[in-house]
């Protein structure tokens, strides 16, 4: 049974902080933004979190959706910054979109690939006939420790995908998915710690590059494809450099990966990163176009996907909700002090 995306939605908070501003405070090189190819990152407002971002993205997806909310058989939210350590974000999304209650749910975590893992699980539930449709969401409001390199990129955003098998409604069919997973501690956060830790340069070759390369090569072997078969390619984007490097290594060209590359404008939205890139592509995609996607999560694993846009996308009502590009264009810059206040990085008084 073919399975694919019936509808999608996205949300990126409006606040931005420039890399130069972070560098100014910590005395770092002013060019650090250029070196990472992250010029600014998105900052969640003081009343935003993974639940609110997931809800906004999910509501967008349902507003555009040809399929009713009552058909949703499962909701999976993947994140490494769920508001609760125990109590699923998914139930809040469920209540906010009025889904269920006869559905299944759990929250997912696998660093930046919790959202793609949710999609794979959703595919399985739909293909097995266990669920008519599944809502899979990847969203994060990830934190980087002050003065740490991650502070330049750890940002906020999320995307939601409604998965199903109705041939008349699928706008992008997912033909294949392949994953590569090993026990590789490149980046982690212990229970109770406010900020993650990472292995610095160890996060490159043995982690990001190895897993993305292996999963991508396996995907293309399974699908019998080569890079030139694809119109679009999007990779997990912890900064603007890694996805470009891995794309080139695999044999993709700039015209293919340009549309999905958002990290220079919004930073690394973690579980939302590759998915927001996919949304940006789908907003522009034409029927028949083929999309290559590979997400990566530290710890470590990569999930690769092969999608084809269907004719149904011509009928798909993107205009029923605000486009991603509108959210990316309408921003408010904040300084480091405001950013620290919003992100809870200030030590407040006892009665605060």
């Amino acid at each position: 049974m073919p399975v694919g995306i019936l509808s999608y939605g996205a949300y990126v908070p409006r606040y931005r902080i420039r890399s130069e501003e972070i560098a100014r405070v910590w005395g770092d090189d002013a060019n650090i933004g250029r070196n990472l190819d992250v010029h600014q990152k998105s900052v969640p407002g003081p009343d935003e979190d993974v639940a609110t971002i997931s809800v906004e993205a999910a509501r967008q997806a349902m507003r555009r959706s040809p399929s009713p909310v009552d058909d949703i058989g499962a909701i999976y939210v993947g994140s490494e910054s769920h508001p609760y350590a125990v109590k699923p974000t998914g139930t809040i999304v469920q209540a906010a979109i009025d889904a269920g209650p006869y559905l299944t749910m759990a929250d997912f975590e696998f660093a930046c690939k919790a959202g793609t893992a949710a999609i794979q699980t959703g595919m399985g539930l739909v293909q097995s006939g266990m669920c008519r449709t599944v809502l899979a969401i990847g969203a994060d409001t990830s934190q980087g420790a002050p003065r740490n390199a991650l502070e330049y990129s750890a940002s906020a955003g999320g995307a939601a995908f409604l998965l199903g098998a109705d041939k008349k409604q699928v706008i992008a069919e997912i033909h294949h998915t392949a994953s590569f997973t090993t026990d590789t501690p490149d980046f982690w956060r212990r229970e109770g710690q406010k900020y993650p830790s990472h292995g610095e340069r160890f996060t490159g070759e043995p982690a990001y590059f190895r897993h993305v390369m292996e999963a991508s090569k396996r995907l293309m072997a399974d699908a019998g494809t080569v890079p030139s078969d694809y119109d679009h390619a999007v990779f997990h984007q912890p900064n603007g450099k890694f996805p470009v490097a891995v794309a080139r290594k695999l044999g993709f060209e700039e015209r293919q990966y340009a549309t999905g590359l958002l990290a220079p404008r919004i930073g690394n939205t973690y579980s939302g990163a590759v998915l927001l890139g996919l949304v940006h592509i789908l907003d522009a995609a034409e029927p028949g176009q083929r999309i290559f996607m590979c997400g990566y999560g530290s710890g470590a694993g990569a999930d690769a996907f092969d999608l084809t846009v269907t004719r149904n996308i011509a009928r798909y009502d993107r205009g029923a909700a605000e486009r991603l590009e509108t959210q990316l264009a309408d921003t408010t810059e904040v300084d480091y002090a405001t950013y620290a206040k919003y992100r809870g990085k200030l030590v407040m008084g006892g009665d605060a």
Partner: protein, 138 residues
Amino acid sequence: MGVPRFWREIPQRYNLQASRCEVCQAIHFPPREVCPDCRRASIGRMGTVRLSGRGRILEWTRVHKAAPGYEKHVPYVVALIHTDEGPVVTGQVVDSDPASIEEGAEVHAVFRRLGEDGEAGVIHYGTKWRTARIAAKE
């Protein structure tokens, strides 16, 4: 706010679930048990209806001395919002261009954190409002 008290009102806070008097069709938010116009005639005849989340600013003010839990937002805007369906609600207007906040401005509902019962307590979510965005060039 205690756990059951907040939980009970999730449909109202998340989804603006209102009541409609089946006698006179008036819509009320927050939902009522009895219609103030029809009174006794409306007992047992109050249905539910969702507000669309669209409305216009009736009046607004910018608050500098925060209500409890709103300290990080100071200064923040609260407004009386006349929803399209009729009821007037009180709410915070967030993430909007200050120049766009004026009497008569169109607003729509967004989903946000309203507060929490301390660091270890339940998080309260619900509806805030924002004015229209500038659309990107297609």
